[in-house]
């Protein structure tokens, strides 16, 4: 195939398919074993300085926030992040000084809430470097190629644009149609982190609602940490196996963390905590404010349970549940503008 164009972006997290296959054969256990551990242990064991990391969900929906805070707490450094619709997750990790490289499909924004002060400051001052651009479908298909164990998948997006020029993709002439086609390289994150409504102690996880790209990401990543609202009996999984999105043999750690997605939305269970997200967006306007936020909500609490009390406890979560279920209108500080 003739290579017509090569993107200039850095190729994050790619491996020769035989090398990755060998890694899986040697490192991923097929044993149905108890993988329960604390958030602290999971981060200490599976997230290392310099790793290429990715989060499940959708940036501010169903994000494993207890793991995000723990990464900040443990002071992980020089992480590269998959900016696959990275919203609150990457903003907190950049603000916490943990992430300094990012491949961007979507980052530095908070959708309708506006742009993210911490992320933007970091990228505009060079503290965090954008190493490549891509689109949402492009990132998704990097994980698809990864889970398929092939070097790339072909696609028809990004062609003719600067997004492609600054990506790690290549354009070739399709040997069948003779037309130019984009080749999207596989991505194998060192560790991917997910929050789910239910999971058993082995790592069989079920997701309610849209999967976003979690199906592919969980299978492409080398290590998978799952936080769950509830650890359920294996019989619950086996009663409705068609609900399982992440099977145990790709999972490495299971942590029970009720409300573990706070302040992001957990479909059917609790809405965005706009009050808390608003406090972050306000404080993260300055480095001093960012420090104040982390001193209060990460370093000032001993664990995620204490954090949940600090952000409003049971009263707050009852309210967020009512909003999620359309029983109460949403309120948000950014709506006053």
């Amino acid at each position: 195939m003739d290579v017509l164009l090569e993107g200039e972006g850095e190729l994050l997290g790619w491996h020769d398919p035989d090398e990755n296959r060998k890694w899986i054969l040697e490192n991923k256990s097929r044993e149905l074993c108890d993988k329960r551990m604390s958030v602290k242990e999971a981060v200490a064991k599976f997230v290392h300085d310099g790793d290429y990391i990715a989060f499940g969900g959708f940036g501010h929906i169903r994000v494993a926030m207890a793991l995000v805070y723990e990464i900040v707490r443990q002071g992980k450094r020089n992480l590269a992040m998959a900016g696959k619709t990275a919203v609150h997750d990457v903003d907190v990790l950049i603000g916490g000084g943990c992430v300094n490289r990012i491949e961007v499909a979507y980052a530095f924004g908070h959708e309708l809430r506006g742009l993210s002060p911490a992320g933007r400051r970091a990228v505009e001052t060079g503290q965090c470097k954008v190493v490549a651009e891509i689109s949402n479908a492009g990132y998704q298909w990097r994980f698809l190629a990864g889970m398929m164990g092939v070097p790339f998948v072909s696609s028809r997006n990004m062609l003719g644009t600067d997004t492609l020029k600054k990506s790690a993709c290549k354009v070739v002439k399709d040997p069948w149609s003779g037309k130019p086609v984009c080749l999207i390289p596989a991505a194998y994150p060192d560790v991917a982190m997910f929050h789910v409504p239910r999971c058993d102690m082995y790592g069989n996880a079920q997701i309610d609602g849209i999967l976003v790209e979690d199906f592919e990401l969980a299978r492409a990543a080398r290590r998978v940490i799952i936080t769950t609202e509830e650890i359920v009996d294996n019989e619950v999984i086996r009663a409705e196996p068609y609900r399982t999105s992440i099977p145990f043999f790709v999972a490495d750690a299971v942590c029970e963390v009720p409300y573990g997605a706070h302040p992001t939305e957990m479909p059917y269970l609790y809405f965005f905590d706009e009050e808390h997200i608003g406090e972050w967006l306000q404080l993260s306007r300055t480095p001093e404010g960012t420090k104040e936020y982390f001193d209060k909500y990460v370093f000032g609490v001993k664990d995620f349970e204490e954090y949940l009390e600090l952000v409003g406890g049971i009263r707050k979560f009852n309210y967020l549940k009512r909003v999620e279920q359309f029983r109460e209108p949403m309120k948000a500080p950014w709506l006053k503008k």
Binding site: G59, S135, N136, R156, L159, I210, L335
Partner: protein, 258 residues
Amino acid sequence: MANQVTQYNPRELEACVASKMLEDKKSVFVGTGLPMIASMLAGRTHAPGLLIIFEAGGMGPQSPVLPISVGDSRTFYRAVAASSMHDAMSLTQAGYLDYGFLGAAQIDRYGNINTTIIGDWEKPKVRFPGSGGANDVGSLCQRTIIIMGQDKRRFVEKVDFITTPGYLDGPGARERAGLPEGSGPYRVITQLGVYGFDEETKMMKLLAVHPGVTIDEVRENSAFEIIIPDEVETTDPPTEEELRLLHEIDPTGMSIGK
């Protein structure tokens, strides 16, 4: 038309004008903000059979209120499917999406869009969120509609970065690049009017101005020359019923204003 009102804000007008472009029994891939509200309004007025697809996997939802994000639970409330991004994007690539609906920071005469940076990519003056799903919508939907603000900094001779493809550098360029045949930008809606693209040159052409807007204002608010045809229509102002529906869909005014 009966029941038209004279008091409305630009966002209300843009949402109403945009919603009328969406046809019943067709499909639309919807981005955050005004595209969502315009699509939901179309679904509650002339296009009850409009199929709304969200990139994160929500398909055919019936949400009583506007989602905050293209991936929150409102995007699959009473939906026909809560699926995945791979599914939504693949369906789009295969040809199931008639319309795509986007916002933009900068646009040029060929409808190329920038939502990535202002300045130099290596050291940007301003960093925007990047493509998100925009490149995918602009690449893979058959007809793309863009809603954005218009002034000389946004309607530019050359965008700082082509995040999302319009007609690139002119007729045939999309197909030469490998993008799907016959796809491309269809309409641009701003606070001043509605634009299409000339069939032959693929350059932006004025189709209609909003009530009270002059052609001079259209020209003054673009850094490139917009094709002005002999006949330019005037858009319909919102009706009372449309305004009522807009505020029913967006009760907090997060997208449409108060």
